[in-house]
Every structure is written in structure tokens, then in C-alpha cells.
């Protein structure tokens, strides 16, 4: 059994150092080609007719004028008469034409008659008594439970209690397993009572989820020395990928499709396109070099990816390009569900948390959406949660970077921060006192809290809420905690050493822009003992071995493990071929800086090139493959903790909030590339500032349309809105030996709560809902003045 274990600190040359991205020069010079940049010979341009109503039924469609229009090559009805539309901007008809203006002209002459239906685009607090009881569980509801990391026992009991709306296929069960469903849950689903009639029953807009109780919250509140009650919330926001969703599809023959697509999931696309297109997955080739943002919204080919391929077929197989326009990107290509709650928390006089009660609600569009995992991070001994999911016509939700965790952090950490204020305790002391409730992360959080306090200069900056200047500029600090899994996914790779010494590594992973290419090369280089630029890396094409989708912070653990295995095995195979030439045994060889030598005797050595010539005529190819997920992980691991602090300045006259400094202290096990790990945190903080201060999907109650589907009023932080960002990665003993753990999600979880807490500290009152816009800040100040 070969030893794949990561080298220890003394034997690492590249791993854990700061290495610049290998694709930076291509990106900054504009040579990097994103899907949006792909222009195929003879390519047609597709455009989509979208429904202007938030809720409607299609009565009739007349495409005859478009079909007759010169330059129009194909017209495709996406949703025909009778189809129900659940959000404005949904796709109705698509056309392909020789150029964009012609396609737009064709869209304009298509006549669609709609029957408008009543819509709801609000996610305001549900009316009292207006919610329907929980019924049989839909597959979406099960997905939400998995996203929320609901304990398996609880899932099983709910499945047994309520039944399900449809019998899941084995394929669906496999998907649930991939998403983390345990065998007990899968067994419960196989034997659950199926109530198909419940799926077609017209659901209420307000759906009660099962109430959950732990311990005896009533008694605990009665005994608590201090009880704090508050209202908290975080709105529905768009993913706002700077490269919009879309693809360019062409048929290379009658039944072979070639697709360029902007995706987080290159390996997973063929399987998802094969079924609707009625061709084997083997006949779908997918390619992507670079992606301009996904954040959880680009795992599937989407309906528009499928009909792009269908239109291409109608147009004789010619390449057809459909990339979403900015407004469609913001309206239909994904949203993070909202979450609001009235929270009551209780503590003893010394600050020890004893009780939690939350009445939460939120929306993920037509599907409703689940309860965030609250209370978050801190397992308060006595708890009661009730949740109401709002089904509305705001648009479809998708996983957004750390699904449900930013919501959980706001609802929990803001409520706990208010409790600390009521106790007259410094939050660092208060949260520190309760770290025993974080279970196995306790030591990590304790170390991180101390480092973050130091980096923020917390002691100097924190002040009790009462001590604030009236009017003018007010400053304050706030903090939050977060956690995530991040175990590596399934990943295969092929590493080939050629007799001329050249090396190539192929895997069908994608690089979301996080430095995946760089990290793969670091691992291969470190393991083989040759420079990074001596290895040719090919990713982003389904002709390479499959490697999992980039979601849930699983990529780095997956690709680093498979690369490590392939490189170690290839190195050992090469040593076996070379050993006789150096008159030694393979296990006596090492390769450092491109030189193979006998350990401890550098005089007996060969250059890499000379060594590879001993391979003979055939190149050596080794497949790296990660152990099955049911086995304990070896090179990767799951479970990280992070602490963030924010310093905010509030103009108390205008309500304008500026973030002045942010500190992120983060653990992710063994860091492969310190530079890209830090960059991942910087990016998350910037994204966090945007959703804390600016982002929200503004819906018009009357028309049901999104009003700010543009970059003017869907605001993102600009350069000058980004303050000093300090990132500290936890490394060394206690961290490195855990193996490689993903980092995509964790650092984006806490900014909302940390910034909201900083504002509360600055102005002495809670601004209940993000984003912290001037109207909300002034309203909170006014309420405080009136109180």
C-alpha cells in the first residue's frame, strides 16, 4: 500500500507557500477565454421571449411572423399553451438567427396571449394563523433538509411522519446520497408512504414546517437572568455572476453534441443533458476554460442550456449561442433565499446561554425554502424553532455560496450580540464564555477569537452601546462565527510521464477562478519533485477523467487528493524503472528539483529527462482516484471554523454605513496555496460587504417584476467601498495534519452578521434587516430616539 500522506512541514517545498496563480497572465492580458468569449464559425445567435408576468398561464402562441423573417434559422417553443408561469422573465419562446438584432426582431413579432393570475412577490412576515400545516415532503423539501445539515434521525422521523409526494428513482436516491443523505434516510425514503395527490394540491403561500424542540425552553427562559428579543433578517439576493449563464451548442453529427458552457460542473453536464436530448451521455462533449462566477448557481445546464442544443439541432446542427442578458441573469438565474426571524434568547447572569426560541420565515421563490440551521454554531441547550416557508413569485432560488449559512449567521449572531449588549458584556467575552457550546470546534474558535481580537485591536475599539456620540460619525465593531464541511469530492485524474520527460495531467475539473489549476500543479510538482512549469495541466473538458462539480467547498480536497495519488504512484512507477540503472532499489530513490538520486548519495543521480528515457517506448499513465465517500477520508477532511470581525462607521445624520476594516481568521486544514487561500477570503469579504450594505432584489408589488435588474440599482461594492481587509489562515500544528479542506463557502458566511453587529455597536441600536441602507439605519435611529 503506497503512502500518499501529505509531507510534513519540513519536507514541503511548495505546499503552504504563497504561489501566484498560473493563469493570472492569461486573465489580466485578456487571453483567457471565457464561455462568453467563444465565437464558433457560422454561429447563430439565440434570443429568448420571456413572460412579463409573475404568475400567468399561456393561452396561445403565434410564431408565424418570426418564422417567415429573413435570417431566422429556428424558432423553438419552450413552454406552450397551457403552461403555467411562476415568475416574470420565465422562458416562453427561443429563436436563433444570423445575428443578434435579427433574433431580437424575431422575438418582438411573436404574439403570446397570457391569462394573468394573482401573484405574490413579498416575503414580509406571514399573517397570523395564515400558514398551512406541513404535509408530505417534496424532493425539494428533502434537498433543503440536506442543505441545512438536518440530523439524519430527524429527517428519518419526518419522512416517516409525513410521507413523501413522489417515489424517488434510484438515480434520485444516488443524487441525495451525493448530497450527504445517510443510508438510514435513503432506507426511510424507499419505504415511505407516497402521497402523489399532495404534490398537485394547490399549496398555500405560507407553509408551516415542523416545529422543533430541544430540552425545556419554557423552563429555561423562566430561569434565565436576562432575556433578549429581537427581529432580524436577510433579504433575497441574486447571484449576479459577472459572466452570465449560458452556452454555445453545436451538433458535430446527427447524435453528437459539443457544448461550451459556463458551469461549475463540467463533468456533471453530459448526464444532465443526455436525458432531455435523448442521446447517451457519452455523446455530449462539454468544454470550459474559464468561468466568470457561479457561486452555486451554475451546476445544471438549465432549461436554456437544453433548448440551446435543441435549437442548434433544428438549425441543422449549427452552433447556437445563448448567453443571458444582464436583466435575465438577475431575474431568473438564481437567488439566495431570504430569512427573517423573531428571536428570543436567554442567558444566566454570567452570560451562559440557556434558551433559544425563533419564529422564522423566508422565501426561496415558488419552492418555498427551508429553515436555516438556527441557532447556528452554538448548540444552546434548550431550543424551540418554528418556521414558515413562503411560496411566492419572486423567481427561482438556487444554492448560494454556503447555502443557508449566511442567513443562519445573521439570525443567530445578531440575536446573541443583542443579548450580550443587554448583559453589558463585551461580545468577545460573551461569545468566548459560550464556546463550550460549539462542541468539537471549541479550541479552534478560541484560538481564532484571540487572533481576530488582536488583529482588529478589538479592546481599543469596542465600547458599550450606550457610549456613543449623538449625531455625526459613530464607529463600532462586531463579530461572528461560522462553520462548514468541505470534504473533497470524487475526482479522477490521469497523469502521464512521457519517455522524453514531459508530463501531462488531465482531469475534468473546472477552476472557478479560485486557483484550482495552481493548486493541482503545486501538488503534482511537490509530489513528483519537478517544477510546476514542467507539467502540462488540462482541465475543463469531458474527454478527461471525471472530477466532481465545484460546490460546497469540495474541489480543493478532491483534486488535491486525486492528484497526490496519481503523482505518487507515477513517481513510484518511474522509480521502479530507473532503480536498476542506478543500481539501487526503488524505495531508495528520491526526486528533488528535477533530479532523481539515491537518497543520501547525490553522486548517483539522473536528470528527470534521463530518468524518463528509461521508460522505454511507451508513456506511463497512472489514474488517480479518491477513496469512496463511505470510507473515512485520508488526504482530505470535513469541518472548519472561522471568526470574523468588522469595524463600521455610520453617518448618524444620513444613515450611510461604511465598513472601515474587516478581519477574517479561518481554518481550512492543510493549506495548499496560501496566496489563493487568502484571496478566497478577500473575495468573500468583498462579497460579504456587498450583501450587507447594498444587495437586494427589489420587486414591484403591482406588476410582480424585478425593478433593479441592472448594475445601476443592483449595487455591488466598488473599489473605494472596500476597506482594509486582514486575513489570517490558521496553519501549523492542530490544523495541517487534518488534511486539505475546502474554503469556498466558509469566509462568506459571517460578514453580514459581523457588519450588522458593528453597526449596532456604533449607533446603539439594531438595524433589523440587511442590507444596511440609509432608510433602514435612519428608521432604527428614529425608533431608538422615540423609545
Amino acid at each position: 500500500m503506497p503512502d500518499y500522506a501529505w509531507p510534513d512541514a519540513q519536507h514541503r517545498t511548495l505546499i503552504g507557500t504563497r504561489v501566484s496563480r498560473v493563469d493570472s497572465p492569461a486573465k489580466v492580458s485578456g487571453q483567457a477565454k471565457y464561455t462568453y468569449d467563444v465565437h464558433r464559425p457560422g454561429m447563430l445567435y439565440g434570443k429568448v421571449l420571456r413572460c412579463p408576468y409573475a404568475h400567468a398561464k399561456i393561452v396561445s402562441i403565434d410564431t408565424s411572423a418570426a418564422e417567415k423573417m429573413p435570417g431566422v434559422k429556428a424558432v423553438h417553443i419552450v413552454q406552450g399553451p397551457g403552461a403555467a408561469i411562476h415568475w416574470a422573465g420565465d422562458e416562453v419562446v427561443a429563436v436563433a438567427a444570423v445575428d443578434e438584432p435579427t433574433a431580437e426582431d424575431a422575438i418582438r413579432v411573436i404574439k403570446v396571449e397570457y391569462q394573468q393570475l394573482p401573484h405574490l412577490v413579498s416575503d414580509a412576515e406571514p399573517p397570523k394563523g395564515g400558514a398551512q400545516e406541513e404535509g408530505p415532503l417534496s424532493m425539494d423539501a428533502l434537498d433543503d433538509m440536506l442543505d441545512n445539515e438536518m440530523p439524519a434521525g430527524q429527517m428519518v422521523s419526518q419522512i416517516q411522519q409525513y410521507g413523501i409526494t413522489e417515489k424517488p428513482s434510484e438515480g434520485r436516491l444516488n443524487e441525495l446520497k451525493e448530497d450527504g443523505a445517510s443510508d438510514a434516510v435513503l432506507d426511510a425514503l424507499r419505504t415511505a408512504a407516497v402521497h402523489p395527490e399532495a404534490a398537485s394540491k394547490l399549496p398555500s403561500s405560507y407553509q408551516k414546517a415542523a416545529a422543533q424542540t430541544v430540552g425545556d425552553p419554557e423552563k429555561a427562559f423562566a430561569e434565565a437572568a436576562v432575556v433578549s428579543e429581537g427581529l432580524y433578517g436577510i433579504p433575497l439576493i441574486a447571484h449576479c455572476c459577472l459572466e452570465s449563464h449560458g452556452s454555445i451548442s453545436e451538433w458535430t453529427d446527427q447524435d453528437h453534441l459539443f457544448t461550451h458552457i459556463s458551469t461549475q460542473n463540467v463533468s456533471g453536464i453530459p448526464g444532465q443533458m443526455a436525458e432531455p436530448l435523448k442521446i447517451p451521455a457519452t455523446n455530449v462533449r462539454v468544454h470550459q476554460d474559464h468561468i466568470g462566477g457561479g457561486f452555486g448557481s451554475k451546476f445544471s445546464p438549465d432549461r436554456w442550456g437544453i433548448f440551446t442544443a435543441e435549437i442548434s439541432k433544428k438549425a441543422g446542427g449549427k452552433p447556437v449561442r445563448i448567453m443571458l442578458e444582464r436583466d435575465a441573469e438577475l431575474e431568473v438565474a438564481g437567488a439566495r433565499p431570504s430569512a427573517y426571524a423573531r428571536v428570543k434568547v436567554g442567558a444566566m447572569k454570567d452570560g451562559a446561554l440557556v434558551a433559544w426560541q425563533s419564529n422564522s420565515w423566508g422565501t426561496g421563490g415558488p419552492g418555498g425554502g427551508g429553515m436555516p440551521p438556527i441557532p447556528y454554531v452554538f448548540s444552546i441547550p434548550n431550543q424551540r424553532q418554528e418556521h414558515i416557508a413562503i411560496r411566492n413569485n419572486i423567481g427561482p432560488a438556487r444554492a448560494w455560496r454556503a447555502p443557508n449559512h449566511p442567513q443562519a449567521a445573521v439570525l443567530t449572531m445578531c440575536a446573541l450580540d443583542d443579548l450580550a449588549a443587554k448583559l453589558n458584556m463585551d461580545p468577545v467575552e460573551f461569545f468566548g464564555k459560550n464556546l463550550n457550546l460549539t462542541k468539537q470546534r471549541e479550541n479552534t474558535y478560541r484560538e481564532e477569537l484571540a487572533i481576530a481580537s488582536e488583529l482588529m485591536d478589538w479592546k481599543q475599539k469596542w465600547h458599550p452601546r450606550e457610549q456613543i456620540a449623538s449625531g455625526g460619525m459613530a464607529r463600532g465593531v462586531g463579530l461572528s462565527f461560522h462553520t462548514w464541511g468541505g470534504r473533497g469530492h470524487a475526482s479522477d485524474c490521469d497523469l502521464t510521464i512521457h519517455p522524453d520527460g514531459s508530463v501531462e495531467l488531465k482531469l475534468c475539473s473546472q477552476d472557478l477562478g479560485t486557483g484550482t489549476r495552481t493548486c493541482i500543479l503545486i501538488v503534482a510538482s511537490e509530489t513528483l519533485g519537478i517544477p510546476m512549469d514542467a507539467i502540462q495541466l488540462q482541465i475543463g473538458d469531458t474527454t478527461y477523467p471525471p472530477s466532481g462539480g465545484s460546490g460546497g467547498s469540495t474541489t480543493i480536497g478532491g483534486v488535491s487528493s486525486s492528484t497526490r495519488r496519481a503523482a505518487a504512484d507515477a513517481r513510484d512507477a518511474l522509480f521502479t524503472k530507473v532503480a536498476p540503472a542506478l543500481n539501487t532499489q526503488p524505495d531508495q530513490l528520491e526526486c528533488v528539483n528535477g533530479k532523481l538520486s539515491v537518497k543520501g548519495d547525490s553522486s548517483r543521480s539522473l536528470s528527470w529527462k534521463e530518468a524518463c528515457s528509461k521508460l522505454g517506448a511507451m508513456p506511463l499513465t497512472i489514474r488517480g482516484k479518491n477513496p469512496d465517500r463511505s470510507k473515512p477520508p485520508d488526504l482530505t477532511n470535513s469541518g472548519v471554523g472561522g471568526v470574523q470581525m468588522a469595524e463600521a462607521e455610520v453617518d448618524a445624520d444620513t444613515g450611510v454605513v461604511k465598513v472601515k476594516k474587516m478581519v477574517a481568521v479561518q481554518d481550512c486544514g492543510l493549506v495548499i496555496d496560501l496566496k489563493t487561500a487568502e484571496s478566497q477570503c478577500y473575495g468573500a469579504l468583498i462579497m460579504g460587504i456587498s450583501y450587507s450594505l447594498y444587495e437586494e432584489k427589489v420587486m414591484d408589488p403591482s406588476t410582480g417584476r424585478m425593478l433593479n435588474a441592472d448594475m445601476g440599482f443592483y449595487r455591488l461594492a466598488g473599489l473605494s467601498d472596500i476597506p482594509e481587509l486582514v486575513v489570517h489562515m490558521m496553519t501549523g500544528k492542530g490544523y495541517d495534519e487534518r488534511g486539505v479542506i475546502g474554503l469556498g463557502e466558509p469566509p462568506v458566511i459571517s460578514p453580514g452578521a459581523a457588519i450588522s453587529n458593528a453597526v449596532a455597536n456604533a449607533i446603539g441600536v439594531r438595524v433589523p434587516f440587511l442590507p444596511l441602507t440609509p432608510d433602514r439605519v435612519l428608521a432604527a435611529l428614529e425608533q431608538k430616539a422615540g423609545a
Binding site: V698, D700, L707, R715, T773
Partner: protein, 329 residues
């Protein structure tokens, strides 16, 4: 974008003759930073675009006894870099680099800045300048009006006038010059902006066959002026309130004041109430606050924009104090 005819005249007369007698047929293309967006979003669909950038005498600046003349085609970028503006109209010089982004300022013209269409999201989404739904229900009054008007909003127009430069230009006493088939017109800049009462009317006193030719700012050597904007983001963001203030002092007291608010009404909103409140007064926190309160006495916020009353007040108070202290905030 729909097909259109494109013409590039070299003289004012040619340009004017190419314009029609009614709105909707022809649009003037200068910097294009607003017009092209509106065309791409199908909010406007002119049959003819008249590119006036080839008309040389609409470019550039000059000074004479009347004041400082700014050709309508002068870009905001050039104006921001102009030494005369910096020296003689420092509050305008301060407002210019706060508008939009460098890329936009390098293309956008002053004439276009005055003629740009409102940023109201109902208008930009195709619901009309006086937005209504299919049943004729007014959308802004009971809808998402957080950025809409708090003054001058009694009629169907709820949008706010979009230029951030106009308040300080009016405060400096700027005049606008227009030219049409019947000759030239000149009037104070504030008169250029009107509140439309019916869909189809525009928010400018500009006839369909007239062009803006220049803006003239009178000498202001004895003026203490300031521009102040409240924005959520540091740069490249639409403001929530704008104030332009120009004071003439006698000793340490105000001899005359010109006070104009932006982003509060469908037109730039001069405030005689605030001007009156400052007359004969020294400038300090109290007098500035009283003037700001006087300016907003008649504010009638819509369902979601009461906070803008406070922001407009603060912008005005800060602009007055800044003007009195020599334009330094």
C-alpha cells in the same frame, strides 16, 4: 435595439432641419451614454439618430464679460479638467468628478447631462415616465418609491430629475441657450426643467426640433458656493440627495443666496424658503439648519421615501456650511 436611420450633420442648421416636429421620431446623439442604454432596453426607439458631434462650434469653452460659455458638446471629463472651472467655479469642479465613472465622463457631454432621462426604475423598465400598469393604476405612488420624489410630486410625475450637476449650475445662475427653426432662445437653467402632466410630455422645455447649444455661467468671483451629494457608495452610484448653494456675503452676513436641491423632485428644486431664511444672517450650524428645515417644510414623502426628507435636509445644511467655509467640507 430597433433599426434606425443615422445622420451626421456638420452644422446646427442641418441638425435642426433633420429633427421632426414631434417627439419620438428623432433623437440627438451626443455622448450616447444615456440614449444608447434607453435604445437597448427598448424604452425609446427613434427612427432617426442625429449625431451632432461633427458640429464644431458646439464644442469647447470660452470666457467673456457675460461669463463662462460651455458648448453643449463639451464632455464632463474635459470640463472637470478645465482650469477656468477649477479657478472660478470650484463647486462645479467638485461636482464633476463625482458624476458617473471616468469612462462615462470621457464620453458624456454637458448638453446630454441636462437632457438625460430620469433614472426611475419604472420608466427604465418600460412602464412609462408617469408609470401605470395595464389597468391604468399609478405604479410609483403605491409601489417601490424609495428613490422617488418628496417634493413637486402632487401630479402623476414621481421621478426625480437625474442630473447631479444642475443644482450647482442653477445656484451659480447659469443660463441655457437653445436653437431651433424659429431661432435662438435663452433662459435661466431652472426654467429648462418642467414637470410633465401627461404621458408623452417631456421633462424639459425643449421643442422636438430644438437643440441645446450652450450653457453660460455668469462671473462668480464674489460667490461662495458648494456642492454636496449623499450617496451610499463612494463612487459611481446615483445620489439620494444633492444640494447646490451659492452665497454672496456682506461682511459676515448673507447678502443673497441661491439654494437648489437635486434628487428630491421631478425638477431641480430651488428653495426660495431656504434663501429667505438665510438673508441677512450669519452662517452657522443653527442658521444652516433653519434654512434646511425651511426648504423641506412642504415635503410630502411617498409610502417608502420619508427618509429622503432627512437626507435632503442634511445635504442642504452641509452644503450651506461648506459654502460659507469657502467650499471646504
Amino acid at each position: 435595439m430597433r433599426p434606425f436611420e443615422y445622420v451626421s450633420p456638420n452644422t446646427r442648421t442641418q441638425a435642426i432641419s433633420l429633427l421632426g416636429a414631434s417627439w419620438g421620431n428623432a433623437e440627438i446623439l451626443a455622448g450616447g451614454t444615456d440614449l444608447l442604454t434607453l435604445m437597448k432596453d427598448d424604452v425609446v426607439a427613434p427612427k432617426r439618430l442625429i449625431n451632432i458631434k461633427g458640429i464644431h462650434d458646439l464644442h469647447g469653452v470660452s470666457s467673456n464679460a457675460q461669463g463662462f460659455h460651455i458648448g453643449a458638446l463639451t464632455t464632463l471629463g474635459d470640463l472637470a479638467d478645465d482650469a477656468t472651472v477649477r479657478r472660478n467655479y470650484p463647486a462645479l469642479a467638485e461636482a464633476l468628478p463625482e458624476a458617473a465613472s471616468p469612462q462615462i465622463r470621457n464620453l458624456a457631454t454637458l448638453g446630454g447631462n441636462l437632457c438625460q432621462r430620469p433614472r426611475c426604475w419604472y420608466f427604465r423598465n418600460g412602464f412609462g415616465l408617469l408609470p401605470k400598469n395595464e389597468t391604468g393604476k399609478e405604479l410609483a405612488a403605491g409601489g417601490e418609491n424609495r428613490y422617488h420624489a418628496i417634493l413637486g410630486n402632487e401630479g402623476p410625475a414621481k421621478f426625480v430629475s437625474p442630473s447631479t450637476l444642475v443644482p450647482i449650475l442653477i445656484a451659480y445662475g447659469a443660463k441655457i441657450r437653445l436653437e431651433g427653426p424659429k431661432g435662438k432662445r435663452e433662459f435661466p437653467l431652472e426654467k429648462f426643467f418642467v414637470i410633465p402632466k401627461n404621458e408623452g410630455e417631456r421633462e424639459h422645455d425643449l421643442r422636438p426640433n430644438e437643440i441645446v447649444t450652450e450653457v453660460v455661467i455668469p462671473p462668480a468671483s464674489d460667490v461662495r458656493a458648494a456642492h454636496y451629494e449623499i450617496r451610499q457608495k463612494e463612487v459611481f452610484d446615483w445620489p439620494l440627495a444633492v444640494a447646490g448653494v451659492a452665497l454672496r456675503m456682506r461682511g459676515s452676513n448673507v447678502k443673497s443666496a441661491r439654494i437648489v436641491m437635486g434628487y428630491v423632485a421631478p425638477v431641480p428644486w430651488p428653495s426660495p424658503e431656504a434663501e429667505q431664511a438665510l438673508m441677512g444672517q450669519p452662517i452657522n450650524k443653527d442658521t444652516a439648519q433653519r434654512a434646511a428645515e425651511a426648504a423641506l417644510t412642504n415635503a410630502k414623502p411617498l409610502s417608502h421615501n420619508a427618509y429622503k426628507v432627512q437626507l435632503a435636509r442634511v445635504a442642504l445644511r452641509r452644503a450651506i456650511l461648506k459654502a460659507a467655509s469657502g467650499g471646504v467640507s
